[in-house]
């Protein structure tokens, strides 16, 4: 059974690229454009991994991550944060909130895929 990945980003073009990449790797893909939509999607069907942008409308990436980690049922969900803000404080904050990995935009698609596979123990 293929793993399910939820892509959360408000930039349509980035969503298109990530969706294409993840599908190519054989993952099942869901998409959300803001924080609230992301949490609804998680509730609907729990993903194995979330690719989570931080600068999101309505609820930002940190809040989404926090909400996921606060729910015991969602402990198994892996979170990879994606952000255009590469400052150290942002990385530290994401890690502290329970993110499994943190990738700075623009990222290498190879690295991203490798990172996702590693976190999902598929390497």
């Amino acid at each position: 059974m293929s793993k399910r990945i939820l892509i959360v980003d408000d930039e349509p073009n980035i969503v298109v690229s990530l969706e294409f990449l993840m599908k190519r790797e054989g993952f099942e893909v869901a998409v959300a454009a803001d924080g609230e939509a992301a949490l609804r999607s998680v509730e609907e069907k729990k993903p194995d991994l979330v690719l989570l942008d931080i600068m999101l409308p309505k609820k930002n990436g940190f809040e989404v991550c926090q909400t996921i980690r606060a729910n015991p049922e969602w402990q198994s969900i892996k979170v990879v944060m994606l952000t255009a803000k590469g400052r150290d404080t942002e990385v530290a904050k994401g890690t502290a909130l329970g993110a499994d990995a943190y990738m700075t935009k623009p990222f290498s698609t190879k690295d991203l895929i490798a990172q996702v596979r590693q976190i999902l123990d598929m390497a």
Partner: protein, 922 residues
């Protein structure tokens, strides 16, 4: 029976007591525990004013003029009321300048002039000698009268006695010896004689008690109180006349002039100056003296009239001199002890006066007359002497002896021609000559040395001619012709009716002419030239003494170089080497040094040395001596004026300083605020950079991702390939636009943007912008309404920039309008002093909260689920900057669901433009 030896031994015993008190006072002073640091003692010592003239003479004058004796005491009482202003100032000046005598005071004031000091000394000596002879006369007469007890025998004429049998001669010699013992035992830097002051205060008590004792005895012992005496006097016509106040104009004039004369005398008699100023240890003592001294005068005058009337009732035939009533009344009543006590009281009044007066005069003679001459007399080789203090002391001792001798000679020569009071008044009129120079000196900066010399000389000359010479003439020394006929037979020059002025008594007459000459010459000569350097600096120190306190001001007027090795021996020569070392060491300790060698020979030290020396040899000589060992650079008058200006400006400066410090505080606060703004700007810049970075990374992410996808998989199907490449192109455009706008914004904000300002027709600008965006409208099929008023005036602006603003507003409108149903309206209108452009759309509208933020950088509005707004978030901020640059305003009006209207205005006149330029430049 009172034998001569009894009287003599009681007198000597009394003098011994006085000496004991003085000795004790000096010992205590040396130990630092002053016995005279007491305002009551100060006030009592001032009563040295009351001499034998008061003690015996008041009764004599009352017997001839009734209450005519009073002005002599009224004057001082009035003057005491002014002491807090006048005397305090003189005391303050004298302490700051270490003034040793009234001659020193006047010569210091007028530029430390030796000739002026000498002149004052001569006037004082000549003027005071009659006064001293008066004391000798009184003591000698009272001695002779008492010797004949119980018989009442008037003494023979002074000249009639063979010289060696004349008791006055012996009295003069005894007083001289006693004064020398009292006053010249050692030299003091401040010329202070604490022991002497204590003895004088004691004497004041003795003479007061003696006089009161006689008064009480006469009033209540011989008669039955005041009422009884005056009732009896009423019955005698001659006595009744005495009881009425002056009855003619001349008498009133005489009253006035005597009061005036005694007002000046209480200030300027050398002995009063000595006691009140030089011997003053504490300025605040003056406060008690102001009421205690007049009280003393009242007490000593209460019984004058009763004794006078009583005496005249007792000796109606006039065989007994009224001057002796104080003594003869107790004698005739056989009150042996009281008579002896009265004699002691009179002796007390005489010794007090003689001691203080001769000490004061001897100091003046030594410091202002003899030393200046000796120091200039090169043949004496005084400059080579190591210790001159012995010389100073011996000059003073000889001076004391000489002054008393002069007094005796005058007594022999003129003593019989005048009653006691008459002689005293001659002296009063002499010292009154000091008044113009002193009052002028402490209240008027314009007085000059020549003015003072001219005034004093003129006044003294008139005094000599109208008072002194007639007194000689009346004694038979001179022919009386010049009094009766006038000098050389010229009637106008009659000394007692000068220029035909008749009808005044001789004192008023002399006072009038001498004061007129004195004041006239002083003022007229002073006004002939500006005060020179020294006169200006001294004048300021004297007149403004309350502003230049503690003598700190004096050294400001000195510039030059000096050596401690030169100054110390110089002072040592006059004070004695040991005393000089002690004084210098004390000075060094006050200035935080441990030895004399560490002292810096600066202006302060030179000033200290000079004042130290001034205490011994007077200000004028001290200046000459100090100048001989230091290299002085004379100050120009301009420099002195500058220093004075500086002094008077000190307060202004301090006010300015306060002002400056307030301004500094304000500036600091402004700086702090500016710093806060800068920090805020820094934070904003930080945020801006972070935001720009974010905005750059976002398109780059898509570009990189699709490029890698295409690179890794060349076999991507065509549809995807096309789609991905289109995204890459679009994101690249977005990046370019963003970079351009960021740079644009930065340029405008930093003021480096180029502006091509010209007259712009907004009509044209709008048409062109609409044309440029017509394809956008076409794509979304939106309608565009134009309502452009005709004849709108041109504005001053940059055409391309205004098009940029219009394009931004139009594309925003298009962006937020719903396709097909969207409608945009553009309006142009002119009103007042501005033109206005509105761009209205029927889009979703902007919430109030968002209205505030859309003009901030990188703030965009939009529901990202449905339509992520395209743009950089810099369009509106840039547009607002452009409009504001031309003095206009850009704003939005909107409510959610009702569309939005973006409007801007531009001013019509150029003033708004320039006003804005000024603001941006700040």
């Amino acid at each position: 029976m009172l034998q001569g030896w009894v009287i003599a031994s009681v007198s000597f015993a009394y003098l011994g007591v006085l000496f004991g008190i003085a000795y004790f006072g000096d010992k205590r002073a040396d130990a630092g525990r002053s016995v005279i640091a007491n305002p009551t003692i100060y006030a009592l010592s001032l009563a040295v004013y009351c001499t034998t003239w008061t003690f015996y003479g008041s009764v004599g004058r009352a017997a001839t003029t009734g209450i005519g004796f009073l002005p002599i005491y009224l004057g001082p009482t009035l003057m005491a009321g002014l002491w807090w202003y006048v005397m305090l100032k003189i005391i303050r000046i004298s302490k700051a300048n270490r003034i040793t005598s009234i001659a020193d005071f006047i010569s210091s004031r007028y530029g430390k002039s030796q000739s002026l000091g000498g002149l004052v000394t001569i006037i004082a000596v000549v003027g005071i000698v009659p006064y001293i002879s008066l004391q000798l006369k009184a003591v000698s007469n009272s001695f002779i009268i008492l010797l004949n007890y119980p018989g009442i025998v008037m003494p023979a004429k002074a000249g009639a006695q063979p010289l060696l049998q004349d008791s006055a001669l012996y009295i003069a010699m005894i007083l001289a010896a006693f004064t020398i013992l009292f006053g010249t035992r050692h030299l003091d830097a401040t010329e202070r004689h604490e022991g002497m002051v204590a003895a004088i205060a004691f004497e004041s008590l003795v003479k007061l008690l003696a006089f009161l004792a006689v008064g009480i005895f006469v009033t209540f012992g011989i008669y039955n109180g005041f009422g009884d005496i005056f009732d009896r006097a009423e019955l005698v016509p001659k006595l009744k006349a005495l009881m009425t106040v002056a009855d003619s104009g001349a008498s009133y004039g005489s009253w006035w002039s005597l009061t005036f004369l005694s007002m000046l005398s209480i200030m300027f008699l050398p002995r009063q100056f000595q006691i009140a100023v030089v011997e003053n240890v504490n300025e605040r003592h003056l406060a008690r003296a102001i009421w205690l001294f007049p009280l003393y005068l009242i007490l000593i005058n209460i019984f004058v009239l009763p004794i006078a009337v009583g005496g005249m009732l007792h000796f109606p035939d006039g065989s007994v001199d009224a001057d002796t009533f104080v003594l003869t009344l107790p004698m005739v009543e056989r009150q042996e002890a009281l008579a002896l006590f009265v004699f002691i009281g009179g002796l007390s009044a005489a010794t007090g006066m003689v001691i203080v007066e001769t000490i004061a005069l001897s100091t003046m003679v030594c410091n202002d007359l003899v030393m200046p001459v000796l120091l200039r007399w090169k043949a004496l080789r005084l400059h080579e002497e190591q210790d001159l203090s012995w010389l100073l002391l011996s000059i003073r001792r000889w001076a004391i002896a000489a002054i008393l001798l002069l007094g005796y000679i005058y007594f022999r020569a003129a003593g019989e021609a005048y009653a006691l009071v008459g002689i005293g008044l001659i002296s009063f009129a002499a010292v009154a000559q000091f008044a113009p120079a002193i009052f002028g000196g402490i209240y008027w900066k314009g007085g000059t040395r020549q003015g003072a010399i001219a005034g004093l000389t003129a006044g003294f000359a008139v005094w000599t001619y109208t008072l002194l010479l007639p007194s000689f003439a009346k004694s038979g020394w001179l022919s009386l012709d010049f009094i009766k006929e006038g000098l050389f037979g010229v009637t106008l020059l009659k000394p007692q009716q000068l220029f035909g002025l008749a009808g005044l008594d001789e004192i008023s007459h002399s006072l009038f002419w001498s004061m007129l000459a004195n004041i006239g010459c002083y003022v007229a000569v002073s006004l002939r030239r500006r005060p020179d350097v020294v006169e200006t600096s001294q004048g300021t120190l004297f007149v403004d003494v309350f502003r230049h306190t503690e003598g700190a001001g004096r050294s400001r007027f000195w510039r030059g170089s000096a050596q401690v090795q030169d100054l110390l021996p110089l002072i040592g020569r006059f004070l004695g080497p040991e005393r000089a070392r002690e004084a210098f060491l004390a000075y060094a300790r006050r200035h935080g040094q441990t030895s004399i060698e560490q002292l810096q020979a600066n202006a302060d030290l030179v000033h200290f040395a000079e004042t130290l020396l001034a205490g011994a040899i007077g200000g004028a000589s001290a200046r000459v001596m100090v100048a001989s060992v230091v290299k002085e650079e004379p100050l120009g008058i301009d420099e002195v004026m500058n220093i004075l200006d500086e002094a008077s400006q000190v307060r202004a400066y301090s006010r300015q300083l306060e002002q400056k410090s307030r301004e500094l505080e304000a500036a600091t606060a402004e700086l702090r605020a500016a710093n806060e703004r800068l920090k805020e700007l820094d934070r904003m810049k930080d945020d801006f950079m972070s935001t720009v970075t974010h905005e750059l990374r976002t398109p780059l992410t898509s570009i990189r991702a699709f490029s890698e996808i295409l690179l890794e998989d060349p076999k991507t199907n065509l549809a995807n390939r096309k789609k991905f490449l289109a995204i890459i192109v679009k994101e690249t455009e977005r990046l370019t636009r963003l970079i351009n706008q960021v740079l644009d914004m930065a340029k405008i904000e930093s003021g480096n943007a180029e502006w091509h300002t010209a007259e712009i027709d907004l009509h044209e600008v709008i048409e062109e912008s609409v044309a440029a965006t017509s394809s956008l409208f076409g794509d979304k099929r939106l309608s565009l309404d134009m309502a452009l008023e005709g004849g709108v005036p041109k504005v001053m602006a940059d055409r391309d920039r205004l098009i940029q603003v219009m394009l931004n507003l139009l594309s925003n409108a298009v962006k937020f309008c719903e396709a097909d149903r969207g409608r945009v309206a553009v309006k142009l209108s002119a009103g007042g002093d501005a033109v206005r452009v509105d761009v209205e759309d029927n889009g979703p509208g902007i919430s109030e909260q968002d209205q505030r933020t859309i003009f901030e950088k990188f703030r965009q509005v939009g529901d990202t689920m449905t339509a992520k707004p395209q743009g950089t978030g810099l369009g509106l901020p840039i547009s607002r900057q452009i409009i504001e640059h031309f003095g206009g305003r850009l704003w939005v009006e909107s409510s959610p669901g009702q569309g939005a209207t973006f409007s801007f205005t531009l001013p019509l006149n150029r003033e708004g433009d320039t006003r804005h330029e000024e603001r941006t430049e700040k």
